[in-house]
Symmetry: C2
Subunit: 273 residues, 2 copies
């Protein structure tokens, strides 16, 4: 599996991906899932991929080889057109592979996050589906996740907002990744982190993070430790012995409604019967 | 969907479930997913259910009606046998419904958590699958989740241990639920929380938690707020301008290995070619 997350902030874009790939638990290896298509001074676009690795590698290959095509990431006039180019690449792979995959009982499964900036247009961020269609991030919904997204979603939901500075958002993405790494063995180091600052039109902040990265080690240690501390500081529940609770209890089949709390205990039910 | 979690601690058991059920987003309602089978002084067993509501309600009905059967939750000599009784009930529903569900294109989808204490045996906790088979919680793996489990897993993984006091574990379960509620609209209030203390052999701590519950409101407010505070206290990453990073960059199709970081930028690639 994979976990990738990207955020669109007022100040720019943040992209983070893990690098674990597996075909069953006995076939685990490392694959980069972040690719940069850069023409410094003119455009920076970044692709994150999850799902079937053969499909996502084919998509990247098509996009990279398309440099001399009429419609390509290098010629697209804006990010919407660039996202269409990516969607078309997905559809091209679908045409080529989907029948054979279906015959093999394999789903055509790929999902992508694609973002960047072209010329004077503001930075934009898209999630692209296996059908080649896509949606765009908005101020109300300023991030996308693909792959094993659920573990790392709560922390993002609690802190992110479009006015957040880029490096703080990068920290948020790394904590989200840390929670995912801790709870799911199919997501693994190293990580690729790219932070794009609006109007730079080139990549200035990119890092490949492995076990030796001091900042990520600090995040891993500190976040868990501080979380446990906050957890310890919150009061435990207290039970009011004077107010016995009513709970859904099984009685003999006498028409209980399971959707409702059942008030009688077993003895009472028997006494009634 | 559903989120249920149960924990086996040295001091007893904790069970927590939400109550949202939906068949599509336009058919959302409330269904209790926690059922108690109690014979005070002799046994307390608790069932949590997730998956197809028709299946899980049938399972509960069979278990409740089985009171006079030779093999039932009321006669099982120990928790292992009781878990088998639950597994058998799942298989009975499978026999009755699976063909019709398959014809309708619906998967036979149900998962259960079942735990409790019978007589002098220690409390035990099981996860029961749609095939009626089951696994037991151990000190190394002392909790089970069913339904929308991923959002609330990281916090449990970070704090839980078998020696944790019961009410602290209940707090952990509630925080895990809060994270899930915040990130997934298919999980909803009210909650059923049951805390079982070893050797009481009756239910003494049960509460149905809705929006008005002061403790859960405190959890919701405090946890999010303290999380944001801790987040703010952790340093943002700093970038070393003197050490430009190497990143996976798309070049023309000249044999780049996508699994490796690509060192050249576009210009250099062109210069080389």
């Amino acid at each position: 599996m994979t976990y990738c997350v990207a955020m669109r902030l007022d100040a720019g874009l943040v992209f983070l991906s893990d690098s674990r790939t597996n075909a069953g638990v006995d076939a685990i290896s490392t694959a980069r899932k972040l690719t940069v298509f850069e023409d410094p001074g003119d455009r920076v676009t970044v692709l994150l991929t999850a799902g079937n690795l053969a499909i996502s590698q084919s998509v990247r290959q098509i996009l990279a080889e398309g440099r001399d095509d009429k419609r390509s990431l290098w010629t697209a006039r804006d990010m919407f057109e660039a996202a269409s180019v990516v969607g078309d690449a997905v559809r091209q792979v679908y045409k080529r592979d989907a029948d054979a995959l279906r015959d093999a009982g394999v789903e055509f499964n790929v999902s992508l996050i694609f973002g960047g900036q072209i010329g004077t247009e503001r930075p934009r961020l898209f999630q692209i589906y296996a059908a080649g269609n896509f949606v765009e991030a908005t101020p109300e919904n300023c991030y996308f996740q693909i792959g094993e997204a659920k573990y790392g979603k709560p922390i993002i939901d609690r802190v992110i907002h479009p006015a957040m500075p880029l490096d703080e958002a990068a920290k948020c993405a790394l904590i989200s990744m840390d929670s995912t790494l801790k709870s799911n063995i199919s997501v693994g180091l190293p990580l690729d982190l790219l932070v794009y600052e609006t109007d730079t039109l080139r990549v200035t902040r990119f890092v490949n993070i492995d076990e030796r990265n001091a900042y990520f080690r600090m995040i891993r240690d500190t976040w868990g430790q501080r979380l446990r501390q906050v957890f310890g500081e919150i009061a435990d529940p207290e039970w009011d012995a004077a107010a016995p609770a009513e709970f859904p209890l099984a009685r003999a089949g006498d028409g209980d409604r399971w959707g409702q709390p059942v008030r009688a205990r077993r003895e009472r039910a028997r006494g009634e019967g």
